[in-house]
Symmetry: C2
Subunit: 410 residues, 2 copies
């Protein structure tokens, strides 16, 4: 939570953090959005240790800036025209502007840099600024940075938003199930009431409408992958393909409120009408692994243990896993989950190889998503819920949706 | 255009370009999207001078990777597990992975870095990599970088997309005008047919539906700002406010196809029912400035000249402008336009201060958007079209929508 930031700055001996919120990145800057409460504006957040965070903002955007609750400083406090006259080289003018900001605001010492930016201009300005301000040491934290660590533990207000998007996402999935149930079999193909094949494109259009009706959007798209596509974890599915009975369908949906906010992430695997014994067995193994993990979740436990246990569980049922085989194309080939919040994949992992020391802590929100992939057999299965570790150390499943493979049709 | 990249690399003595496309940034990475044709995938584009661009991609995303037309290299060509065992420190493992990629692909010499990334991890990896690969000089181009210069000039396929989004955006604006015309006056307030006040929130909901119906989205929101809000260029408008007769309403809309693609950007200023002589005069001055610029556009001309001319035109009509007054709160307070394409604001400017040497070139697509802002008088006016400089040096207006201040109501 935000109140952890000063403690983390002290622990890591960081005197100030600078969070860049340049133009052109929309809502893809979760570190910046975490501070500005999703307001759409251009600016820079600067926080010195032990002091409230400041926002340098355009005077044109003072209305949005006032909504952030941060200490506000108009960017016109420093005279760009005068700087431009003194420094005809535009890079040098940009460096001088930033130098004046840091000097006037007393930014010095070890300064961490954060936020989503353009690599080229960032590297050019930071390199030049380091030469001109030798008393500042600019730092990039590789991962598990201060802001990620604060964002890992969600507060009550964040949970309200996470629960809401979870319920709405489940409602969209239910609409899809109902739509599929409205079809009927013609041979092995599912057809609409007017006898035309029901395609993945039809389903995707429905998903788009149902998301929009609930104020949600899917900036990373939606996976609705059938048969051998279901055997590739990131194949999004072929819109021209008709729905087929008996095929595995991996339906992975990860929306957020339109324009930005907290994500939900859930996956169900379906088979229309019936499932072959082979598919049913794979499904039961994944569901068994899922329940094994969910039943065993404990606050304070290392995440790596759950990844290892999942490999052990699935190896015991005859599947190759990334725990013992690498590279690996078939079987259990990925990690068990990830943190989720203002970004779909946050910096909290159930690692396949190196243990970073991630532990389940109160406030953490993360996915659990075991899967088995057999593209050579034309099938794949993944099941995924979003889970919250409550302040009391118990767990709340934010994905209230049943886990049933077969969607029966008339 | 893409074929300019090798020439620019030669001119700038750059041996290779590396375009980062990390996870978590969705469609907010236009430099990367320019190469991968909007495919949603994680990866890195590497192009050596005189050679085709390569895409390093996850094997799970080979379907999307195949759609890009790039030379494909699976990221599993380098063994992450072995690297993890050799380099227990995760930063060092990331650096070693990247070192192997660059070594094996022959990336050496002066290497430009591009793409939208997280500041912290980028700085950490790039600094460490520079130490471990002293034969590579990593460069950040501050602005007008190679890819921006290529993106500046659009080809026929890009123009088709730009025209399409322009026509659809105009259709949405027409729906809003029709909606306002469906209201009637109750005193100075516009009311719906059921006698409730028509609010900005009502208009915004309509805009959302009409954009969605045309497959568009507005990742940066939409400006619909009335009265004194219209006097702040970036105020988005108060959803709870009822529409008032006679007030200036700045309606600035800048959507793109859902999930990514080419933007359109247009602004109209409206007054419902009537306009005061004061508002009409300001409107006529802005419209006059707009027509003066559009009539005078010439291929090869420096963009700075149009910004200067606009200041001269508006000063002659009694307005303060950023050309002679700084800082400035009222009058003509911003620059005349910007490049537009895969990003809303591209790296092509009509500069207020420093002239970077931008000139109007065939293939350029840009906005022209003069405005006058008088928050103290409760009004503002902006008019904006998106313009294309055709290969023959003539101009095409991509915003086919009339410019009329007053929306008459019954």
């Amino acid at each position: 939570m935000k109140q952890d930031i000063d403690r983390l700055m002290t622990e890591r001996d960081i005197d100030a953090i600078v969070v860049e919120g340049p133009d052109g990145l929309g809502s893809a800057n979760p570190h910046f959005n975490y501070f500005v409460a999703g307001q759409k504006l251009v600016g820079t957040v600067i926080k010195k240790r032990g002091e409230p965070a400041m926002l340098i903002h355009s005077p044109w955007e003072r209305k949005q800036a006032e909504e952030t609750g941060l200490v506000l400083i108009g960017s016109d406090r420093w005279n760009r025209q005068e700087i431009a006259q003194q420094f005809p080289d535009r890079l040098m003018a940009a460096v001088e502007y930033r130098r004046r900001v840091f000097s006037d605001l007393g930014v010095t010492g070890r300064v961490g840099l954060y936020g989503t930016i353009s690599a080229g201009s960032f590297l050019a300005v930071t390199s030049a600024l380091a030469q001109h301000m030798p008393h500042i040491q600019f730092l990039g934290e590789f991962e598990q940075d201060i802001i990620s660590m604060a964002r890992l533990t969600k507060d009550a207000d964040e949970l309200d938003q996470l629960r809401d998007v979870g319920q709405k996402t489940c409602a969209v999935v239910q609409e899809v199930v109902d739509f599929i149930r409205s079809g009927r079999a013609q041979g092995n193909t599912l057809v609409n009431t007017n006898n035309t094949p029901m395609t993945i494109g039809d389903v995707r259009a429905l998903i788009g409408r149902e998301l929009a009706a609930r104020g949600l959007e899917a900036p990373y798209d939606v996976i609705f992958a059938q048969g051998s596509d279901a055997g590739l974890p990131h194949a999004h599915g072929d819109d021209t393909a008709a729905l087929q009975l008996g095929q595995s369908i991996v339906f992975d949906i990860y929306p957020r409120p339109r324009g930005g906010g907290y994500y939900h992430d859930m996956t169900r695997t379906f088979a229309i009408g019936y499932a072959s014994p082979d598919l049913q067995q794979i499904y039961d193994d994944v569901l068994g692994a899922m329940e094994h993990v969910l039943d065993g979740l404990e606050v304070g436990a290392p995440t790596k243990a759950y990844q290892d246990e999942t490999c052990t569980y699935l190896e015991a049922r005859g599947h190759k896993t990334i725990g013992r085989t690498y590279p690996i194309d078939e079987g259990y080939i990925h990690s068990l989950g990830h943190g989720i919040g203002l970004d779909l994949h946050e910096d909290f992992a159930f690692p396949t190889f190196q243990d970073r020391g991630d532990r389940i802590v109160p406030g953490a929100v993360f996915t659990i998503e075991p899967g088995l992939y057999y593209p050579s057999r034309g099938m794949g299965v993944r099941i995924e819920d979003t889970i919250y570790c409550k302040p009391d150390g118990t767990f709340e499943n934010l994905t209230p949706f049943p886990k049933t493979l077969v969607i029966p049709i008339d």
